[in-house]
Amino acid sequence: MILFQFLLVAALLFSFGVYGLLVRRNAVMVLLSVELMLNAVNINLVAFESVLATSALIGQVFAVFVITVAAAEVGIGLAIILMIFRNRRSANVDDFNLMRL
């Protein structure tokens, strides 16, 4: 039952991510939490692939795609945070309420 342990790790990782996403006030930490959630998903993808053992390695390929997209997302996210920090001297997400109606 090796799959169960993988899934457990992934679920824990995802829960930590959700917790960090909702609780942390530092924007960088929020972004890191998102990364945790994405990696939890990657673990799931790879774990299921190892069980299903498709000839095309769909799970692995998809995980690589997620990593790539995550890298891009982090790049953009950090850039946004950097710009906001330059303007507001703060990385606190509670201060980022400019989009309010």
């Binding site: 929020v30 997400v93 309420n97």
Partner: protein
Amino acid sequence: MSTFPLTYALQEHAGDGGALAQYAGVMLVVPFLAFLLIILIGKRLPRQGAEIAIGAMAIDFVYALALFFRNATEGIVHEEQFEIARFGFGGGRQVAFEWGWVVDGLSTMMFLVVTLVALLVFIYAVGYMKGEIRVTFFFAALCLFAGSMMLLVAAPNLVQLIVGWEGVGLASYLLIGHYWEDRANSSAAMKAFYVNKVADIGLILGTVILAVTAGTFRINEILAQAEEGAAALGAVAVVAGLLIFFGAMGKSAQFPLHVWLPDAMAGPTPVSALMHAATMVTAGVYLIARMFPFYEGMAADARPWILGIGTVTLVIGAMLALVQDDIKRVLAYSTVSQLGYMVAALGAGGYVAGLFHLWTHAFFKALLFLAAGSVIHAVHSNNMSEMGGLRTSLPRTYWTFIVGSLALAGIPPLAGFWSKDEILATFDHAGVTAVFWLGVATAFLTAFYTFRMVLLTFHGSYKGHAHPHESPRVMTVPLMILAVGAIAGGFVLIPGIFSGFHHWVEVRQVFNPEEVEAGFDLAALIPGLIAAVSGVVAAWFVYSPDAETQEARDRVSIPGLYPLLRHKYYLDDIYWYGIVQPIKGPLARGVNWVNQYVIDGVVNGVGAVTMALSRFVYGALDQKGIDGVVHGVSAATDSAGTALRRLQSGRVQQYAAGFVVGALVLVLAVVVLR
């Protein structure tokens, strides 16, 4: 002198005028387009719409001139008719209403006269009306006036003729009452309208009789039937002829319907000039000329009436002109008298003579009116008792006025001499000796009152208070052009030398040569000439010595006759106390009663019901129903928006929490519902 073989040759070889005549309808459309355009945008233009009016009239004038030359060289007989409506009545008979235009000798001559005089008057009016009120409207109405006259002259059928006829009446009403703030002016406008309306009844009845009998409104077909001697038409010809002549009496100011014309002087002077020379009063003469073959053949018994009315008119008009103080009224009564000449000439069978006088009269009467307008413009008064000695301060006006006066008096070689001689010769040849001598006597009176006017206005010492000054060029140049016409206009018909005019107006589809030729006639020429010259000389002896007051200057005063003339033969009083008051009294009271108790009751009842209904509609339906729904929708939208805006906090983590909760709900749903 007989010109008939040549005339027939002309008629046989008359062309159809080609494209020029085919599109002559352009001339009818342009003034009405100008009318609409002036109404719409005239006020915004620098000259307040005058440029549009002048442009339109210039187009028409050039077109008319082209037609005129074509007719003079080869003759045109052309007719266009478009059916616009068809009405059937008992027995399967149908009557078509048509529009179109007829281009022949008569109408091309009228086109030229109307457009030439109208163009010059429009140009003159730019100067005359400068700074006056409602200039835009004035020019719009002038366009309507000229356009209606063109419509009338071009009419190939009686329906279109009546439409143009009434259009002229309407426009004259608007223009005579141009300064309607003054009650006298609006009364004069209404008088002109009513008197013409009375006469119009005759025209309309005559038209209906002719159309029903002949089965067509087309003038040429009616005339052709009259030529063939259709029995049905013959039975009603005299009655219809007299009724149509009654219509012509109104427009052409024949006794006893001439009373509107002098009062029409209330309008601005350019209007008077246009009305007297070209557009309105010639309509009746034109109508008789258009129907001339009818009056010459079938309705010949109506002709003595035409001759008689014309003769009475020419005499009484000239006598009334003797005693007037208002310079425009002298000219107005002079017009009445000259129209009498034209009508009497047509009544005596002198088709060409009557039209020739219309032609020359258009030039010199337009000239005299415009020159009188120039004088009035200078001294700010119509009364000759406030003029005098103006020849030094208004030299150009003076000389052109002299030319017009000599033409009116019939002094050779000016235009009036040739046409008046032609008319007198017609009377002589027709064998109506009494009319001939009355015509000669009136020629004397004409010369006399004309030079009375000239001397009282321009000679002696100045008696007014304003400081007279010569009018601007925009006013004097039209005077000079018309003066050329008044000098040369008569040379188109010199008996024995050049008879161009004769051929021009005789090119017609249906034409029977007149019984009475005019031509060269020493027996007519010499008395007429003596009368004219002695009239001028007599006026010189009576009026050239100056005096302080008008009464002293007006030396001639015949007891009995002069009071009669000053009161205009009491005609206005007869009409007022004999016709207007009896109708006004009982009829007005009756109408008032009906108005008070019947019509007002109905109107008030309808009003009350409407009020109640509208109150219900307002209170119950509009305020509570429709407005309630509208307000409810907006209030709901407003409160929903207020509630929902709290969600939009801008806090990223709240949104994220929303996502998470939503995802959890979905997962739970999948688990539970599985």
